[in-house]
């Protein structure tokens, strides 16, 4: 990895997020307008104050017009970005680099997804013309391959491991229940989840992320100007991204117990931020829990657990609200819901609330000296994945 990073060069000075819901009464434009105006208002800015925009959506619109038309922007550059489920984070990443380059003083990232208008369950990709030879497996089934592989590699009983990942869903629902913006606000026990019918491998519907409509937005400025806008900016310590080469699909050595793209992105981010051991310094983390086994594997790929130990750390509650390293304190994709283009920005929104001590009391993390938060956002499947990691902090240095 040879990224130099832009540590402490830019800061986030405002973030907003709509509720993630089945928004039958809101269009994609409504969601874009809600997230954008809310984010501008809390920084006392107008669209005129923003120099450039990045709009992330996986498949709810094409081109910058997706943002500039509903917002009626006058003469502003808008770039539409897409990077699978890491689309929202990609929009933030591009906005940060634009400001760091000096090209713009104020940049805005907006992420949106309107998925519930399709009339079908789940997420459905755009059909691109193909030869008909592409794999047709669902994401749930691809991620379900993790459980038997992990159980075998680390000698964990499969029934026990099934309960471990259900505990991850239980935790995320527990957190989400305390989040007024979350899609699912009902607590559910690991036992209940284990008793549900399997839809893919051992996974039940409650091992999968919620499917919701929603939007979120963030404003980025140069670090030295951050305090002009807010008393509590979040400084960007690291931004990393790895787009995999697909070797996991063809390499017989790949064993479905790790996501090399995530491990590499984390390593790059820690190097940019100058972090030796993340579990000693991070106050919290928002990670991509698209399916419960994904969060299990990420605990190891992100260095929060030793290899083969994440299942034990989950059982010990290390990643709960009161744990050593709270993970997905807003409920995660599991409970908050997953409007693809918005999720990455939503993860940053939770860091914003927690690190600034603005999260609702019932789900706020313990107040400690730690002032760094991590966001991990991925797209794709085991073996063919894109992965994003950012690290945010409340102080320069």
């Amino acid at each position: 990895m040879a990224s130099k990073g832009i540590k402490d060069k830019v800061a986030i000075i405002s973030i907003g997020c709509t509720p993630f819901r089945e928004h039958w009464d809101k269009s994609k434009d409504d969601l874009v307008i809600d997230a954008t105006t809310q984010t501008l208002a809390s920084a006392n800015l107008t669209t005129e104050d923003i120099d450039a925009y990045w709009l992330g959506t996986a498949q709810s619109g094409m081109s910058g017009l997706t943002l500039s038309m509903p917002m009626r922007l006058e003469g502003k550059p808008v770039t539409r970005v897409e990077n699978y489920c890491a689309t929202g984070s990609e929009a933030i990443r591009q906005a940060c680099y634009a400001v760091a380059s000096g090209a713009y003083d104020v940049a805005m990232a907006v992420g949106v997804e309107k998925v519930k208008d399709s009339g079908y369950q789940g997420l459905n990709a755009f059909p691109m013309p193909t030869a008909g030879t592409n794999r047709t497996l669902t994401a749930a089934a691809m991620y379900s391959l993790i459980l038997p592989a992990y159980a075998e590699k680390y000698g964990v009983d499969e029934e026990k491991l099934r309960m471990v990942v259900a505990k991850i869903a239980e935790k995320n629902h527990y957190n989400g229940a305390k989040n007024p913006l979350a899609q699912f606000r009902r607590e559910i026990s690991a036992e209940q989840i284990c008793n549900m019918a399997a839809v893919a491998g051992r996974l039940s519907v409650f091992d999968c992320a919620g499917v919701a409509d929603g939007a979120a937005a963030a404003i980025v400025v140069p670090a030295e100007k951050a305090y002009d806008y807010t008393e509590k900016p979040l400084f960007v310590k690291a931004l990393s991204f790895v787009s995999g080469n697909g070797s996991g699909l063809i390499d017989p050595e790949y064993d479905y117990t790790t996501f090399p793209e995530c491990e590499a992105a984390a390593k790059d981010a820690y190097q940019q931020a100058g972090i030796a051991d993340p579990k000693d310094v991070l106050a919290m983390a928002e990670v991509h829990d698209c399916f419960t086994p994904t969060e299990l594997i990420l605990m190891e790929d992100l260095g929060f657990s030793e290899r083969g130990e994440a299942w034990n750390d989950v059982l010990e509650g290390n990643f709960g609200l009161e744990g050593n390293l709270p993970v997905n304190t807003d409920g995660g994709l599991k409970s908050f819901g997953h409007p693809v283009g918005a999720s990455g920005i939503r993860m940053h929104y939770e860091c914003w609330l927690q690190l600034r001590n603005e999260a609702p009391e019932e789900r706020s993390i313990p107040r400690t000296e730690r002032n760094l938060g991590l966001v991990h956002n991925l797209g794709g499947y085991p073996g063919e994945m894109v992965s994003f990691v950012s690290i945010l902090g409340t102080e320069i240095g």
Binding site: S118, Y120, Q121, G122, N124, P127, P129, T130, A131, G132, T133, R135, T136, L137, T138, A140, A141, M142, S144, L145, P148, A149, A198, V199, A200, G201, N245, G246, S247, L249, I250, D251, P252, Y254, Y256, G383
Partner: protein, 463 residues
Amino acid sequence: MRGILRTAAYIPYRRLERAEISEFFSSPTSEGQRSVAAHDEDTVTMAFEAARLLLIAQDNLRPSALWFSTANPPYMEKTNANVIHSALQLPEETEAFDFGGGLKSSIGALKTALTSTGQILLAQSDMRNGLPSGEDERNSGDGAAALLVGDETDGTLLARYMGGSSITKEFIDRWRTPEDKASKTWESRFVESTYSTLVSRAWDNALSNAGLKPDTIDTLVLAGQNQRVKKQVAQTLGVNRVLDDLSLSVGNTGSAESALLLVSALENAEPKEKIALCSITDGVEILIFEAGDAQKNKSPLEDQIAKGGPVTYRKFLQWKGMLQVQPPNRPSPTRISAAAAVRESEWKHGFIASRGDRTGLIHMPPSRISVNEGDQIDAMEQEPMSNKVGVVATFTVDHLVYSENPPVIFAVVDFDGGGRIPIEVTDVDPDDVTIGMQVAPTFRKFFTADGIHNYFWKVRPVR
């Protein structure tokens, strides 16, 4: 001298116990089983499997033409033989034609091949349908056979063609319009009486054409849709041995029947045995062969018949389009791109992967650039995978994905000699899949969208 150089058969894995139909309809019990093409098979994929078995490890055989016959073609207008041609990766100079439509076209193709020139690969296949509770549903079977016809200069003849006869008679016996799912038949008495006079004339003509006396025929192979006619003919022609027509194990395979029975006869024939193939379909066709030395087959018909697995009557009705069930609430697939399919034809139809020029790492699908930087760009070599065997490294069962036969079983397969692919497993029940299970590629129809069939590869257990 011309004859048959090689044969192979393909019987789909699934079997329906006829007693299941009787039970469902509370009708008198019927004996035996019928073979059933899976939801992802059609006459093209089955014909391909038979033709592939025939050509495996036969580098000396070079068909100059592929003739496909069926009464149940996946396409009208578009030539079905082209799909088989492409899946077999035959050279573009090799001809491919459909001899299809009527049930008689398959024996017609055989006869024409025997009086033609060059090596002609006949692929004959049928999927037989009938209305629930009817005789056709019960007595039919699905399957395919491949025959390679050529000259004795092309190789040792498995069967020498001695001569035959043909009688054409227009009358209404059995019929089906292109729109109909099931055939209809005229009253059997009329049909029996019409055929009986035709058969004796054809028999005399065939013997005289082959220069043989009646008592020199060792084995009579009878093909045709009307069981009572076959029974009568077997009694009247006076041949000692009438070949088992597979009615209890496979069922009547329609336009594949004559070729399939010929495969069966030749697999068990003694050298010099004289075999008369008599097809009683819209007239009478008789072909007389003298068997040569038996051949070794990778997967003999008898083995395939023995290695079937059950399918429930419910699933059978679904697969045959007689029972429409609620599909999953997912978007149905969109049609494939013709241009992309041509570009990827070697992979899509031939299952040809690529191998890194230095590391030997196999890439499925083929790739211009290796994931291993030791290999050079655009220097990969072709690596055919279709006849290899692999093992299941891990697998999952997907209840959510769109499928005509949920749930979908998906496995990560490691091939012997290298190559890994996540791929669908077919011809298997979810509870029977295990890590380490041996599987082999099979050519299947994935879905049909806008009338275009999407053919590609899955794996199935090695049995």
